[in-house]
């Protein structure tokens, strides 16, 4: 899995880059992404051919007429795009989203799972 930036993405919609952890084991890849402030229904995951797009819109309950005096999260949106590699089974992506943390599990295609070769001593 490598990261790419889609050149055709509309640049008008500036977005924050969420921090991620990517861990690969023999069975597949696990991705964690921090998307605080995104409710479940505002999280969008797209798998298109070999591109994985994570997008989320931040919704905070702000009191009416609030003036922001200091903002470190200064855009209302997160976006990050990854290119998946061929051996990953993009049909089988499983996602969990809990308290602003997204966990994605992308297994490797079944026929590409590692198989142990039994060695017999003659």
């Amino acid at each position: 899995m490598s990261e790419t930036k889609t050149p055709d993405a509309p640049r008008a919609e500036a977005a924050l880059l969420p921090p991620v952890d990517v861990i690969e084991d023999a069975g597949g890849i696990t991705l964690y992404a921090d998307l605080p402030g995104v409710p479940k229904d505002k999280l969008h995951l797209h798998v298109d051919a070999d591109t994985l797009t994570i997008e989320g819109e931040i919704q905070l309950d702000m009191p009416e007429g609030m003036d922001s005096s200091h903002a470190e999260v200064s855009l209302p949106r997160y976006r990050r795009v990854f290119t998946l590699s061929k051996e990953l089974d993009s049909e089988q992506v499983a996602a969990e989203f809990n308290q602003g943390v997204l966990k994605l599990r992308i297994p490797k295609a079944a026929h590409l799972q590692p198989r142990r070769v039994e060695i017999r001593v003659a």
Partner: protein, 143 residues
């Protein structure tokens, strides 16, 4: 392939990011606690009636968060556990914060520290501190 290209494809986005980083880095009076991009990220705002602080603390057990107001200073501390990495797994990207954290915000003088409320939702801790009634602007009726 696990391979990062030397040349990012979207040059403009990279330039944008570089410019933003330069702006952050050229701050003449940086915080004593280091980079402004610590964990958790915070937004602070206010209305005539309240001060609102948003701390972006995703994936933290609300019970392990500690928020205190003392002498006009709000301290938020806690711990975020690292994800467990299974044996024989490779970590390709490791950007998310793990460990103990602590951030301090000084508050204005007119807040009512006894009426604070805090709510944790979607990984964001919202601390709402009303201002003292006496400090709120009052309209004077003209007869």
């Amino acid at each position: 392939m696990m391979y990062r290209t030397m040349f990012p494809r979207d040059l403009f986005a990279e330039l944008d990011r570089l410019q933003r980083e330069l702006q952050h880095g050229s701050d003449a009076t940086p915080s004593i606690r280091g980079l402004a991009r610590g964990y958790p990220a915070m937004n602070v705002g206010g209305t005539p009636n309240s001060v609102d602080i948003y701390a972006f603390v995703p994936g933290v057990d609300p019970a392990s968060l500690d928020a205190q107001i003392e002498k006009g200073v709000l301290t938020l501390s806690g711990e975020r556990k690292a994800e467990t990495v299974p044996d024989k797994a490779a970590v390709h990207i490791d950007e998310r914060f793990a460990g103990r954290f602590r951030r301090v915000v000084s508050l204005p003088d007119d807040i009512d520290a006894n009426a604070v409320s805090a709510q944790y939702r979607d990984g964001v801790l919202h601390i709402h501190i009303p201002r003292k009634a006496a400090a709120q602007p009052r309209r004077i009726a003209i007869q």
